[in-house]
């Protein structure tokens, strides 16, 4: 039963996916086909419909539209430029200062907007022309921008980790959020290290010195934007509000801030809301259909079979984690982050739980893996956007990206095998 069901599920899913059926419908189609061997037609149809709705019936999921909306408001709110000025200050006088500014900008802006694509566009869009003017290679600056774009998905708040929390059976969102800091920052530092060596070899210019008063003004300018992180994360960790409520507060705060900065036009509001509805609906349809999939999987025992297979292969957690990393990296090359988290969490989590891995640690490892997929060809949204704002082709940027991939994968291995990188901060805060 398991084998037949498993093969049917996989083959239907794969065929639908390859011919270009939307991923959500491919998941649903494969689930229904498998359900039809378990149930009579009307029960299969009823159960699928039920799962589509109940899969979305979660208070935690509300954080998704709220964080998306606050990200969109900030993207239109003049916040990016203030953060870039701050990043310039922080990047200081390293060789290739502008490249480091780009990385820091992505970390700062990604942190609050929660989107790799938004930061690749907002930060890279400002930084690329500046770098070109100072004689940086276009492919180099695009590669730096692309390689550092996903850091904001790991540095909280992060919609991705909210979805992981849901599918992993209620892992604490607060713990996941704060666990993402060190891995996200390490990713940024790794890209800066690579950028440093290349810049040094190519003799890219160093930024001019800034006076203290100039620096102080830049810092003051950025404070209101940074306060968002303090308010939202501080509020979540201190228990003033839940993650979902925190997300709604983020909307309110970014809205007020943009009004104060006079970069907000009420005419744009409907467009922003509509964009949020679209992004949310696309994700929610995936979540709804994935909950059909997880029902089918628990009926057929596919996760147990895969779990037994993996555990039967070897009893070394190190090898199992390496295998998982490779699978997730491959999946990430062509599949988007959200569906991959939805599909692979229920399969892999029981395996790693069997040898005592913390679900928070696993969530960070999985997110890290899939974020790499976000910047690899053939399909990667941050890669595409980074190429388009950097005015380069995917084929041109692939080679300059290789050393960055190498550095990021080294960090991935560290995150995988050193639990403290993910777990020490949550422990510190008693989460």
């Amino acid at each position: 039963m398991t084998l037949t069901a498993g093969l049917l599920l996989l083959s239907v899913f794969f065929v639908l996916l390859v011919i270009g059926v939307p991923i959500a419908i491919s998941i649903a189609g494969a689930s229904i086909a498998t359900m039809l061997i378990l149930f009579p037609f009307d029960v299969a149809v009823f159960t699928s419909a039920q799962k589509m709705v109940t899969g979305l019936d979660s208070f935690a999921l509300l954080a998704v539209p709220f964080f998306v909306l606050s990200g969109i408001i900030m993207n239109n709110g003049g916040i990016a430029i203030r953060l870039i000025n701050l990043a310039k200050l922080l990047a200081g006088r390293l060789p290739g200062s502008l490249a480091h500014t780009n990385v820091m900008g992505n970390m700062l802006f990604g942190s609050i907007s929660g989107s790799s694509v938004a930061s690749a566009a907002a930060i890279g869009g400002v930084m690329s022309p500046l770098q070109e003017k100072e004689g940086y290679d276009r492919t180099y600056s695009a590669a730096v921008n692309i390689a550092s774009a996903p850091t904001g998905l790991l540095i909280p708040p992060s919609g991705l980790l909210i979805i992981y929390s849901l599918v992993s059976g209620g892992t604490s969102v607060a713990a996941l959020f704060i666990a993402g800091y060190i891995p996200g920052i390490l990713w940024g530092l790794a890209t800066m290290a690579v950028a440093y060596f290349i810049a040094k070899r190519k003799n890219y210019p160093v930024a001019r010195k800034v006076t203290f008063s100039q620096g102080f003004k830049v810092f003051l300018d950025a404070v209101p934007s940074l306060l968002l992180i303090v308010i939202v994360l501080g509020g979540i960790i201190a228990g003033v509000f839940t993650a979902t409520e925190g997300a709604a507060i983020a909307v309110a705060y970014s809205f007020i801030l943009s009004v104060i900065y006079r970069t907000f036009s009420f005419k744009l509001l409907p467009k922003m809301l509509l964009e949020t509805v679209e992004v949310t609906a696309v994700i929610m349809l995936l979540i709804g259909t994935s909950s059909m999939l997880s029902l089918v999987m628990s009926f057929t025992g596919i996760p147990e079979a895969i779990s037994a297979g993996l555990l039967g292969l070897t009893d070394s957690p190190i090898i199992i984690l390496l295998i998982m990393n490779i699978i997730l990296l491959i999946i990430g090359t062509f599949m988007d982050i959200t569906p991959a988290v939805l599909i692979f969490t229920p399969i892999f989590l029981p395996v790693v739980s069997a040898f005592g891995m913390d679900p928070v640690h696993f969530g960070i490892m999985m997110a890290f893996n899939l974020c790499i997929g976000n910047i690899t060809p053939p399909v990667g949204s941050a890669l595409f956007v980074g190429c388009s704002v950097g005015k380069v082709k995917v084929e041109q940027v692939f080679k300059p990206l290789l050393p960055f991939y190498g550095a990021i994968i080294l960090v991935l291995l560290a995150v995988t095998f050193i639990p403290a990188l993910s777990l020490s901060l949550p422990k510190l805060f008693g989460l």
Binding site: I19, L62, S158, P270, A281, D336
Partner: protein, 173 residues
């Protein structure tokens, strides 16, 4: 097409209004707990059920706008007439899904749960499940329009790879 535009605008208006209302409700929830010190007992349920409606209606809108994520690699390599046939086939599959699961399955659930009431508002649960058949019908409508355009106007209209969906926003990267 005029019908398409009207339907688009109606869904957009309803969902955007609901979303704005949801933000206010969530802020209100924090306010009642911390400032009024008497937590709202209905906001949590209102928010959860609004999310379901916004998601379902928004999903149908996204079908109309081809915003759902798909892998386009095959279609890009096909000659035009084959790409048209493929687009018709994909739409037919979507139509089938919307018909079987959302309209037929959804209506059965609505019928079954009209007598069931929600925990704090006491609303019939059928009102929540009603989002399924409603958006199912809308999806079928959009699919038929796309099939018509492909068959008679030779317009290929495929689902998005990642760029369109994700651009400028969101957690989708």
């Amino acid at each position: 097409m005029k019908v398409r535009k009207t339907v688009d605008q109606t869904i957009a208006f309803v969902t955007c209004t609901m979303l704005a209302f949801m933000v206010l409700t969530a802020v209100w929830q924090v306010f009642t707990r911390y400032v009024l010190n008497s937590p709202s007992t209905v906001s949590e349920e209102i928010l959860r059920y609004s999310l379901i409606w916004v998601s379902m209606l928004g999903a149908s809108y996204a079908f109309g706008k081809k915003k759902h994520i798909a892998i386009e690699l095959l279609a890009e390599k096909l000659p035009k007439n084959k790409a048209l046939a493929l687009s018709i086939m994909i739409e037919t599959l979507i139509l089938l899904f919307a018909m079987l699961v959302m309209v037929i399955g959804g209506s059965r659930i609505v019928a079954l749960t009209m007598a069931q009431s929600s925990a704090s508002l006491g609303l019939p649960m059928g009102y929540i499940y009603l989002s399924l058949p409603v958006s199912g019908v809308l999806i079928i409508g959009y699919s038929l329009m796309t099939i018509y355009e492909a068959a008679f106007k030779k317009k290929t209209n495929l689902y998005a790879d990642h760029l369109d969906t994700a651009s400028n926003s969101g957690i989708e990267g």
